[in-house]
């Protein structure tokens, strides 16, 4: 397959006695949609948190686009080109949808205190560009009409879209989505699927945690399965679906 984008090696994370991740290694290639699945509590979100710098790993390292990631430094990870959404949506509730996306432009803009106070020409131009870009991203995910609504007042599906728009504002090479379809109805899920396909067409690599089997099987190029913090399979979706260990993990016992 094509170029290597992400190379995670031996990631380990313990919470007291709980082994949330034991030596998980996985590789993601440029342009693919990579699924991360597994039963509840398997460690999927924990892997995201380590990857995006919110947790420090107890062991292991991650290379992204040829550079070692500074694990535990969330803002550095974003600068390196990895953006994410959250399983339980985390928007800036009392900011408008537009402002949420504008915050996402933080790493791609530079104005400091001096520039802001003097409103220098560069700052004003930058600010204008931020607004324009934020509107464009809201249009891209299909919620530009809600630009001036408070994020907390958006319907659930739109909140998920807004989170994606905010993540896209950082211009990521890899977009990590933690259960984006959770709580969505069938038509919202279909629209989400369409959005993810568009993202791939636009050259963004996607790491997807999802419980919706149909969505994962339909979208992903490759799937890794976590169970009790261990990677038990990694292959094309149709192969994983027939894997005995995977079936056992999901059914909670050996198959007759």
């Amino acid at each position: 397959m094509s170029e290597l984008l992400l190379d995670a090696r031996g990631i380990r994370k313990n919470f007291g006695g709980v082994r949330a991740l034991s030596d998980v290694s996985l590789t993601i290639h440029k342009g693919e949609i990579y699924g991360l699945i597994g039963p509840n509590g398997a460690g999927k979100t924990t892997f995201f948190n380590v990857l995006t710098g919110l947790y420090t790993a107890d062991a292991g390292h991650i290379d992204f686009a040829g550079h070692r990631l500074d694990l535990g430094q969330a803002h550095q990870v974003v600068r390196a080109g990895i953006a994410r959404t959250f399983q339980n949506i985390r928007l800036f509730g009392n900011m408008t949808a537009l402002e949420n996306v504008m915050v996402g432009r933080h790493t791609k803009s530079r104005a400091g205190v001096w520039g802001a106070v003097t409103a220098s020409r560069a700052t004003r131009a930058e600010e204008k560009a931020i607004v324009a870009r934020a509107h464009a991203l809201l249009r891209y995910v299909g919620i530009d009409a809600r630009a001036n609504d408070l994020a907390r007042n958006l319907p659930y599906g739109d909140q998920r879209r807004l989170e994606i728009a905010r993540a896209l504002a950082t211009e990521p090479g890899l977009l990590a989505l933690d259960e984006p379809a959770a709580g969505m109805n069938a038509s919202e899920t279909a629209a989400l699927r369409h959005l993810i396909e568009n993202l791939r067409a636009d050259g963004i690599t996607i790491l997807l945690i999802e419980h919706d089997v149909k969505l994962v099987m339909g979208l992903c190029d490759r799937v890794a399965v976590l169970d009790y913090g261990e990677k038990i399979a990694e292959a094309a979706p149709e192969v994983v679906q027939r894997d005995a260990r995977v079936i056992e993990a999901y059914l909670g016992g050996p198959v007759q």
């Binding site: 985390r90 009392n94 900011m95 432009r105 104005a111 931020i130």
Partner: protein, 366 residues
């Protein structure tokens, strides 16, 4: 797209001429304030308004920390103290130093900012109640230091405080003396008024510009959800320290002005109650909303004095004689007024449009 404040304060959308006349009228009205007050109510009222302007600066500074970045700070008055003592030490017979105002004020801002970072650094992981307790302790530590740094080396002169501080002089004129301009004698208190007004407006201007900027958005993002802010690439540590430093520097400037105005500083001016007072100004006015915070500061600085003046004639009028000490009654009425305002306008007297909606929908949910 942005809500009210900027559009309202600098009405850009209006034709330029209209905006200009509006600005002229506002300037004339502000310039007339000390004359109107002084002539009708006596100069002690001008003095009260001078102090109110210092409180405007303090409240705007604290608003950056509490209102924008959402970091509850109960020791804010410490930065006021730092600014005041810096002025006192650098422009008084205490050390025999007599530096000019324009050296001391920026130095006071920088020094207070440094203390802001000193307070901010160890509290980066704390929020809410925990942060409040640590900042409260910080404020007390500064006050206790000021109280005790008179031995073995006399730095602050302890509880007696530092007296005979130089008055401020602007453009060669010492503000403690009246200034005769075009045949009109401007009393010293008026001159302080104009200086404080200029700096309060500058503070407000800086706050407005910051609020609607990349930095201001980052502060609000941290207030709303720190983890999400990190996931947006915001270096939350630096941006929080910046909030502490910016807020503290305004406090430092206000403190310097206070010292030059009073020409006397002592630790008792910088107690916990003062911190709480400034916090009340921010909350009562409308946390995070600059015009609201200014209103809150003016009201809370002036109202208690007005109550003090009103308490005596009111009692005589109602009961025919004095029943209660005006001082005791003043705080009672003041507390009562605070409670009433918070019951009926929980978002503050003049909240931003967004915060009003926020409180409205929170009410619907409960």
């Amino acid at each position: 797209m942005m809500p009210a404040p900027i559009a309202r304060l600098f009405p850009r959308a209006q034709p330029k001429a209209a905006a200009f006349t509006g600005l002229l009228i506002a300037a004339a009205a502000l310039a007339a304030v000390p004359f109107v007050l002084g002539m009708n109510f006596g100069n002690s009222w001008v003095r009260i308004v001078d102090f109110a302007l210092l409180y405007v600066m303090l409240a705007l500074g604290l608003n950056i920390v509490v209102g924008f970045a959402g970091l509850l700070d109960l020791g804010y008055i410490a930065f006021y103290a730092v600014g005041a003592y810096l002025y006192a030490l650098l422009a008084s017979p205490h050390f025999g130093l007599h530096l000019p105002l324009w050296v001391i004020l920026p130095l006071g801002a920088a020094c207070a900012a440094l203390f802001g970072v000193l307070l901010g650094a160890p509290t980066l992981r704390l929020r809410g109640d925990y942060l409040a307790i640590v900042t409260l302790g910080f404020g007390e530590i500064i006050r206790i230091f000021l109280n005790n740094l008179n031995a073995p080396l006399n730095i602050t002169n302890g509880p007696q405080g530092i007296a005979n501080i130089d008055s401020m002089s602007v453009a060669g004129h010492a503000l403690e003396k009246p200034l005769v301009l075009f045949g009109i004698a401007l009393p010293s208190l008026y001159l302080f008024y104009y200086l404080f007004l200029a700096l309060a407006i500058l503070t407000m201007f800086i706050c407005i510009r910051l609020e609607d900027s990349r930095i201001g958005r980052a502060w609000v993002a941290i207030r709303e959800d720190e983890i999400a802010a990190k996931a947006c690439g915001i270096n939350t540590r630096n941006i929080k320290l910046l909030a502490f430093a910016m807020g503290a520097s305004f406090g430092g400037v206000a403190g310097g002005l206070f010292a030059g105005f009073q020409q006397f500083v002592s630790p008792e001016s910088f107690g916990l109650l003062e911190s709480i007072m400034v916090l009340c100004m921010v909350v009562l006015g409308g946390m995070g909303h600059i015009p609201g915070v200014v209103l809150g500061a003016l009201l809370l600085a002036i109202l208690p004095e007005a109550l003090r003046y009103a308490a005596r004639p009111m009692q005589i009028w109602m009961f025919g004689r004095m029943l209660l000490d005006p001082e005791a009654l003043r705080m009672l009425l003041f507390g009562g007024a605070l409670i009433v305002v918070m019951l009926f306008r929980p978002a503050g007297l003049w909240p931003s449009a967004i915060r009003r909606r926020e409180f409205a929908s929170a009410e619907k949910e409960t």
